[in-house]
């Protein structure tokens, strides 16, 4: 007989209740099962009304972030047996409005994403006929890490600053800005720096470093933010010393 584990799942149905409650479900605790498999077992076999997001089940689509026993996690990469004998407590990610059950609203992030101009900015576009931009493996490695973000939002859920100040651009958006700034094909870093130097840009970060700890893809947003602050400080120092412009 299989072992079972108790999952305590946050439920919130805004049409019926004013605040979240918890429901308990018993699910099989197979060796290969991740927390997400437990949730799907609940949805398929026990309670079809439970809502959560998921898609790829291989840690690349970024859909299934939740709070598992108090920690932000991708539920497709969190094995049930690691929580045995249980219970496993499932809640929506923190710092976001809850839409329903384990589903949070992330429109704020989607809007912030556009503001950092996450695309290659060029004074002049290179014609296709001239072939590719040369970029050595060393140049690629300068930004590669910051290009690995899957937008799973775990870093926002872990970020105490975002929790207090929703205006803060947040770890993933800043890391993505840095991804383009450090790309040898891009010429938009000055535009992005102006934008990010604003209060809600980079300065709000107090370097707690929780974002880097919870990142499932080793993007190191905290490092990106620190580096950005340094660049911004140097730029404003240069502006002060060399007001006729050397940047």
């Amino acid at each position: 007989m299989d072992d079972y584990i108790t999952m305590q799942v946050a439920r919130y149905r805004p049409e019926d209740e004013d605040e979240p409650t918890f429901e308990e479900y018993e699910v099989p605790c197979h060796k290969e099962w991740v927390v997400l498999d437990g949730l799907n077992y609940i949805k398929d076999q026990l309670d079809g009304t439970l809502s959560f997001r998921w898609s790829c089940r291989m840690g690349i689509c970024g859909s299934c972030g939740m709070t598992v026993n108090g920690e932000p996690k991708l539920t497709c990469a969190a094995f049930l047996t690691d929580y045995a004998p249980g219970p496993v407590r499932l809640e929506p990610m923190e710092n976001f409005p809850v839409v329903r059950d384990l589903v949070v609203e992330m429109t704020d992030f989607m809007e912030k994403l556009t503001t950092i101009k996450p695309w290659i900015v060029r004074d002049e576009e290179r014609p296709l006929a001239e072939g590719e931009y040369r970029q050595t493996p060393e140049e690629l490695s300068k930004y590669k890490q910051y290009s690995m973000c899957i937008n799973c939002m775990l870093c926002y859920a872990a970020c105490p600053v975002y929790g207090l100040d929703p205006e803060f651009l947040g770890p993933a958006a800043i890391a993505l800005a840095q991804r383009y700034n450090l790309d040898s094909r891009d010429q938009g870093s000055a535009e992005r720096l102006d934008l990010l130097s604003l209060h809600e840009g980079i300065w709000a970060c107090t370097f707690v470093g929780e974002c880097t700890k919870v990142c499932p893809k080793d993007v190191d947003p905290a490092g990106a933010i620190q580096r950005y602050k340094l660049d911004a400080a140097l730029t404003s120092l240069k502006d002060f010393l060399l007001p006729w412009g050397a940047r």
Binding site: E32, K43, G48, M58, G62, A77, R100, L128, E132
Partner: protein
């Protein structure tokens, strides 16, 4: 006020975003909407690993890419479409380079290419082994700079709106609010991807339910070549997580329980220590998956807790090559299988990965229904024929996404505004969704039970080898499941993010698409590419060098017609690998 656009894209993956950008660039005045049931960066393009094919080296040629594709597809590809595809492929990948895609590079800074199954030259561009992820994020982020593109994120399309013989929009549910409303358009492009979830064991994400195929099919458009379903030879047991073909192009070996590279017994060449193009582990996916079944029959596979497996051996590559070229393989094996490919062999078995068939389109993505276009896996142009070569599909998203975008833009520019009578149709659709699902209280069938039975039926009847007998049984079984579906129970009657409703709507699509596959497979009495019949073991060019087109009749039954394959310069011949 009713939402109205010039072009609506259903689906925000690689094909949809490429199409959106193409339209925005051609005519910035066109109002474009991307309607997707998930945020675009969640789309399944994200999971593609190995790479995207396009001729770039001086010692390669477009004709060779075309020949590899056509022979790989067992001569079911339309050769005019393949020629357009290989010709436009390099510029499309280059454009993505200009948009910032982090392609892996040579030491000199040129774009690097790797070998891939069934390809005679190295022409697969790659971004380590997260190529689809990087392509999708590059496309999505680039799309953000076009202000004429608006998005309907997490809107689920339930119906195409048709009036006067023209598709003029969709009805969709906004998941967050539960609002059901029409989104009108002069042209609609389906970019919803494939349908791997019809099967119990698949690399496909949970969102791959054939939604777009079912939308088109219900609206009267034919589905083409649906019998051709691809098994990828190397999936992890239980999860079905894909281990990319790039693992073999970097030098990985497939071995049986005796440590023997068994592919040499299946007319795929002789084993060499280093990978040889179009040979052994770099043979095409259909032949490798068939060889696996034969090994199991000979008792030379390895018994595992989730059925028979063989081993993919990467140990001789060493950690340096693995970490540089296929780091995601190592990450996935460690995280999901608890093994390290640097020191251990990876258990693998064939897994449902892709469907060559799809909504019938011409070379510009146009379907026979005016105003309706399709691109990407949902469509069948066809460049993939009876068996797709690895790394052609990511390129296909770009080439045919752009083509469909351009064609739809031109069409939409000449059309009048959508007809207001469509609003009545949209109200009917809302009433249908309420009556059949949201307000229904007397259903008894659990959706997951029907889904599981459908998946078992499909695996049994439309696997790597098929027979008329099993297909006939499956057709009966699916008809019964369709009947039971009318009695489906929906426990969740709320409007807010009702994922049980979407689950049930997806199941409805899957049942329709499943029937189209089974009926198309039953009618094709030959063996070709991924369609292998134990009762008709040879290829039959006389009768079946033709695409199947399956139509839905008004009574819910179907009919299959045939359309000759377009042959331009490569007459049908033998598929030769490793000799």
């Amino acid at each position: 006020m009713t939402a109205s656009h010039d072009v609506v894209l259903v689906g925000g993956g690689g094909a949809g975003l490429r199409a959106a950008i193409a339209i925005a660039e051609i005519n910035p005045r066109l109002r474009i909407a991307v309607v997707s049931k998930v945020y675009p960066m969640r789309s399944h393009t994200v999971s593609a690993e190995g790479g995207a094919a396009a001729v770039i080296s001086e010692d390669d040629s477009l004709d060779e890419h075309a020949y590899d594709t056509i022979s790989g597809g067992d001569w079911m590809c339309d050769q005019d479409a393949v020629e357009a595809f290989v010709t436009e492929a390099p510029q499309e990948l280059l454009r993505l380079e200009h948009w910032g895609c982090p392609w892996s590079r040579t030491p000199e800074g040129r774009v690097a290419v790797r070998s891939f199954g069934g390809m005679k030259n190295k022409r697969t561009w790659f971004a380590a082994d997260k190529t689809g992820f990087h392509m999708l994020h590059t496309l999505f982020q680039t799309s953000l700079k076009y202000t004429s593109v608006v998005r309907y994120d997490e809107w689920f399309v339930t119906k195409l709106l048709i009036d006067d013989g023209r598709v003029q929009g969709v009805v969709a549910i906004e998941l967050m609010s539960g609002k059901i409303q029409p989104i009108l358009a002069k042209a609609v492009i389906l970019c919803t991807g494939g349908c791997g979830r019809l099967f119990p064991f698949t690399t496909n994400a949970s969102i791959k339910n054939g939604d777009g195929m079912a939308l088109a099919y219900s609206a009267g458009a034919p589905l083409k070549d649906m019998e051709f379903v691809q098994y990828h030879p190397t999936g992890l047991p239980f999860t079905g997580i894909l281990i990319t073909e790039a693992a073999r192009s970097e030098g990985g070996w497939l071995v049986n329980k005796d440590g023997y590279r068994y592919l040499q017994d299946y007319d795929l060449g002789t084993p060499e220590p280093k990978p040889v193009l179009r040979s052994m582990e770099l043979g095409p996916r259909d032949r490798l998956s068939q060889a696996f079944i034969k090994e199991v029959e000979k008792g030379r596979a390895i018994d595992g807790p989730y059925g028979a497996v063989v081993h993919l051996d990467l140990r001789h590559l060493g950690s340096k090559v693995i970490d540089a070229k296929i780091p995601f393989v190592r990450e996935l094996c460690r995280k999901y299988q608890n093994i390290d490919p640097v020191t251990e062999m990876i258990p693998v078995r064939p897994v449902i990965h892709y469907i060559m068939g799809g909504v019938h389109t011409d070379i510009d993505g146009a379907t026979p229904l005016a105003g309706l276009y399709a691109a990407g896996e949902v469509a069948c142009v066809s460049i993939n024929g009876a068996n797709r070569l690895g790394s052609n599909s990511l390129t296909e998203l770009l080439v045919f996404g752009a083509r469909a975008g351009r064609a739809a833009a031109e069409y939409a520019s000449s059309q009048p505004d959508p007809n207001s009578s469509l609003l009545a149709q949209a109200e009917d659709e809302e009433r249908r969704l309420e009556r059949d699902f949201l307000h229904k209280t007397d259903g008894v069938e659990r959706p997951a039970t029907i889904r599981t039975e459908m998946q078992e039926t499909m695996e049994q009847a439309t696997g790597i080898y098929r027979s008329g007998e099993e297909l006939t049984e499956a057709a009966d079984r699916l008809r019964e499941l369709q009947g039971r579906f009318r009695n489906v129970a929906v426990q969740d009657s709320s409007r807010t993010f009702n994922t049980e409703l979407t689950t049930v709507l997806e199941l409805s699509s899957m049942l329709d698409v499943a029937e189209s596959i089974v009926h198309s497979a039953l009618r094709r009495e030959e063996s070709r590419g991924a369609h292998q019949r134990t009762d008709f073991t040879d290829r039959d060019d006389e009768r079946f060098l033709a695409h199947s087109l399956i139509y839905r009749n008004s009574d819910g039954s179907s009919r299959v017609e045939y359309l000759p394959v377009t042959i331009t310069r490569w007459p049908p011949g033998e598929r030769v690998y490793g000799r």
